[in-house]
Amino acid sequence: MPLARLIPCLDVAAGRVVKGVRFQGLRDVGDPVELGAAYSDAGADELVFLDVKATLEERRTLVELVSRVAERLAIPFTVGGGVRSVADADELLRAGADKVAVNSAALLRPELITELAERLGTQAVVVAIDAEGGRVHSHAGTTATDRDAVSWAREAEERGAGEILLTSIDADGTREGYDLAVTAAVAAAVRVPVIASGGAGNAAHVAAALGVAQAALLASILHEDPARLASLRREVRALGVELRDAA
């Protein structure tokens, strides 16, 4: 298996990186281009960019912003938020994204996952799942669906997802640790890599998540001090998790 990955996540609204708690009370924490470059330089294994309020009107600005972030990166770059069609995904890849993440649109029309995989290859298709109490929510966590996270992850894989990005709404922004139970259940149900998301507060949380998932998403824990990534990597390694030597 490849090495475990630490993946900073930029939640972006109106062109700025924001962060809330349990998807609520978003505050401005910085410029996506500057933060993306800082994380890339500090040893991030990948970068994820989620447009959390993706609207049709802001689509052009989003593509332009993705392009400016991509210019400063030499690591894999996943972009999500408002991807509803193969054309939307193509536009993001042309702007410099390596993978696209789909969430609500795939819940509404699961065939989208297959269409994206056929066009872009499965390795470029990330299905993002927001779960609360094991139940899948859509539209940035605002709408409960009747799907459970494990069966939706399995269906997404069958339809062509190359990776599952699993966010626990219960844990999001709390810094109290990842939801290991739901993460382990999803990781056991699929053969594609799983990225654990939501709840990182310290190196022990990250190491525990990497015990059940192939990668850990990081947001709140980093944004106030992007340099924290380098020290966090050292601490996670000291706990026995092998990470790449990012020098």
Binding site: P2, L3, S40, D45, A74, G96, R119, G121, G162, P193
Partner: protein, 184 residues
């Protein structure tokens, strides 16, 4: 150094272009005449091969290698250069070197993430579900082929353009090798 990227209509070629420019390459459109042709690789084998053929890149790349003019294949670009791939029910490759791409059986697939490449001694980024089986392998990561070499062809299964400082060093070395072949 004049470098032409074969753009066949799928995936992110922008990061390959940016990485080559950072390594000092001048990007040109002329696949036949460039000092180095790069076959990037994102997407599925059948769609990519159809894209190559419809643009005439299949013939152009075969002619280049036959004439001893270097070609670099990245990820799927390496796999397309083989004789065949098992992906999409079986796809005929460019046949620039012997071997075929076979489905990865072990571990999580796609194989996604950083792995140390030996004998290069550094970690590079991989994202693939098929891997080369070929007598031309020159480097490996976790038992899978990571680099292949044949006369006028170098292929890497990892993405140097996504592999940070290690990837930049790799591209620098490839461009330096090409420079030795084509004195200014």
């Amino acid at each position: 150094m004049r470098v032409a990227i074969c753009e066949y209509g799928a995936g992110n070629v922008r990061s390959v272009a940016l990485a080559l420019q950072r390594a000092g390459a001048e990007l040109v459109d002329d696949v036949d005449g460039a000092d180095l042709a790069v076959l990037p690789g994102v997407g599925s084998a059948r769609t990519a091969m159809a894209g190559l053929q419809s643009r005439g890149f299949d013939v152009a790349l075969q002619a280049r290698v036959a004439a001893g003019k270097p070609v670099l294949g990245i990820c799927l670009g390496l796999q397309l250069a083989l004789e065949a791939s098992d992906e999409d029910g079986g796809v005929e490759g460019l046949g620039l070197l012997p071997g075929r791409a076979e489905r990865i059986r072990d571990g999580r697939v796609p194989r996604m993430g950083w792995a140390v490449v030996e004998p290069l001694g550094e970690a590079f980024y991989f994202a693939h579900s098929y891997a080369a089986v070929t007598p031309c392998a020159t480097a490996w990561a976790e038992g899978a082929v990571a680099e292949v070499r044949a006369p006028a062809f170098v292929g890497c299964q990892f993405h140097p353009e996504k592999s940070g400082a290690a990837g930049a060093r790799y591209l620098d070395r490839v461009l330096a090798e090409v420079a030795c072949l084509s004195p200014a």
